[in-house]
């Protein structure tokens, strides 16, 4: 019985689409374009978020020690810093190791170190903080607490510019969200208007159905399925188009920004985002048909 009814409703929904192909195409097109724009925002948002996370998790606090402190003192301060709850790991880099690192990094200028009588590099402690303390306030509070150690000459951490980037990213998020919501509302308004044209084209039929005892549910379901179908198709096509555009853009810009692209390691939307976009399309179609039918059934 349930299956038969389901089949009946699907049949009526497709009949409705066949009866008004133009209106259905307009609705599908509007949903597709709207989800494509939204999807573009999501791709940018997703990749910026990845970059920010990467930078944030790779960032660490570098502590430069005074040359005068003894090896025992160095071990002592290392242990004390390692004792902080924020600290994941502390790595000691001696003056000699620091020089070797710099030599290795700048090997083309190898000769420039030959004349040195004294090693100018300070011993350092590379401090990796636990993930949950990697927010800018977390790092700043940690730095403020270790500053009091007299063995420390200087502290460097790359949170300042991450903080700046985070602020920009938040702005982008808010802007993107506002545009996204505005876009969705505009789409629902546009599509529900053209959807209503489809409903009104069948006004007489629906009016008769009401007069012979059809419930609102019975009248609504085929339209709801029509909306779901438009939304689903719009979402799938927009995801396909988005993927195509993404591939073309990456392919075209790769030669010019190869270093950055490798560093940024861009990626298309993950499955949960794609799933979300698809569900979003379906919900949009449903909402449109609910809004349109509500208006129609209210007047009859």
């Amino acid at each position: 019985m349930f299956l038969k009814k389901g089949f009946y409703f699907f049949d009526k929904a497709f009949q409705g689409i066949r009866q008004n192909p133009f209106i259905n195409f307009i609705n599908f097109g509007t949903i597709t374009v709207s989800l494509l724009v939204l999807g573009t925002f999501l791709v940018i948002f997703f990749n910026l978020n990845r970059v920010l996370d990467k930078w944030r998790y790779e960032s660490h606090v570098t502590v430069y020690l005074y040359d005068s402190i003894s090896f025992d003192n160095t071990s002592d301060i290392k242990d004390r810093i390692a004792g902080f709850e924020e600290v994941e790991r502390v790595t000691y880099i001696s003056k000699k190791e620091a020089l070797n690192i710099i030599k290795e990094a700048l090997q083309i200028y190898d000769n420039s170190f030959e004349g040195l009588e004294v090693n100018p590099m300070p011993a350092t402690l590379e401090i990796q903080l636990k993930k949950k303390f990697l927010s800018s306030t977390g790092v700043e509070s940690f730095v403020a607490r270790i500053k009091i150690f007299k063995e420390i000459k200087e502290i460097q951490y790359d949170q300042e510019w991450i903080k700046g980037f985070s602020a920009f990213f938040s702005l982008f998020q808010i802007g993107g969200l506002a545009i996204g919501v505005g876009l969705l509302l505009a789409t629902i308004l546009i599509v529900s208007n053209s959807f209503q044209l489809g409903v009104y084209a069948r006004k007489e039929e629906l009016e008769i159905m009401k007069l012979i005892g059809a419930t609102d549910f019975f009248i609504k379901v085929p339209f709801l399925l029509e909306g779901v179908f438009q939304g689903l198709l719009g979402a799938l096509v927009s995801i396909g188009l988005l993927y195509g555009i993404y591939q073309v853009v990456i392919f075209k810009v790769r030669p010019f920004f190869s270093i950055y692209i490798r560093e940024l390691d861009p990626s298309f939307l993950p499955l949960d985002f794609i799933f979300g976009l698809t569900i979003g399309g379906i919900l949009m179609g449903m909402l449109v048909s609910i809004v349109s039918m509500r208006k129609f059934l209210k007047s009859y």
Binding site: M1, Y8, E204, E207, I208, L211, I212, T215, F218
Partner: protein, 217 residues
């Protein structure tokens, strides 16, 4: 079966459609409401099938006051009522068979049931051979027969006909009235609203309506 008790209906523009109307229809009766255009005939029918609510008074269907019925219950009430209109109200994109079947589809009847009942009803109204035709290809009388078939395919308790012969020539009018008589003989209560007093000649129960008031009965 149906009773209206001191019913008043005033529209939002202040126009009084019905003034203190009281009437009673018993099961199996054939009743006419006659009156000129604008007398309030359609308003009475609309109050019975709940397309409108009275401003004052009670409309009883059995022992239920449908003037206070919940909106969600109206479709279930209408399944007990067959309605026939002057302009037939057939769906142009559906065949005769499909138009009649719609009344069974909306109540969730099975395909076998629909097939059986629709064929039986089309035979009864004499349109067995026209089942695949579209309404546009039928005469006015035939279209009204389709509308009557759709109204009675559910075996309703009552059949309401609002000017069922208004668009028909005299010969077809007789045909339709004969058909309504046949339906009544099978046990369905029939209520016909018409402006034509000739149709109600020799009928036992006739209500005359003028300017929203019943002037006889």
């Amino acid at each position: 079966m149906i009773q209206m008790l001191h019913v008043h209906k005033t529209y939002s523009n202040g126009q009084k459609a019905l003034i203190d109307v009281s009437l009673k229809l018993d099961k199996g009766e054939f009743v006419y409401i006659i009156g000129p255009c604008g007398a309030g005939k359609t308003s009475i029918l609309k109050l019975i099938y709940c397309a409108q609510r009275p401003t004052k008074g009670m409309v009883l269907f059995g022992d239920k006051n449908v003037a206070r019925i919940r909106k969600s219950r109206i479709p279930y009430l209408r399944r007990n009522i067959g309605i026939v209109f002057q302009d037939f109200k057939l769906i142009k994109t559906r065949t005769v068979f499909e138009n009649v079947a719609l009344a069974l589809e909306v109540i969730g009847a099975t395909i076998t049931d629909i097939q059986k009942k629709v064929w039986k009803t089309l035979s009864f109204v004499g349109l067995y051979n026209k089942s695949n035709e579209y309404p546009i290809r039928l005469s006015g009388g035939e279209q009204q027969r389709v509308a009557i078939a759709r109204a009675m395919v559910n075996n309703p308790l009552i059949l309401l006909a609002d000017e069922p012969t208004g668009n028909l020539d005299p010969e077809m009018t007789v045909d339709i009235i004969d058909l309504l008589d046949k339906i009544n003989i099978r046990g369905t209560t029939v209520l016909v609203a018409t402006h034509n007093p000739d149709l109600a000649k020799n009928k036992r129960k006739v209500f005359t309506l003028e300017k929203g008031r019943i002037t006889n009965g």
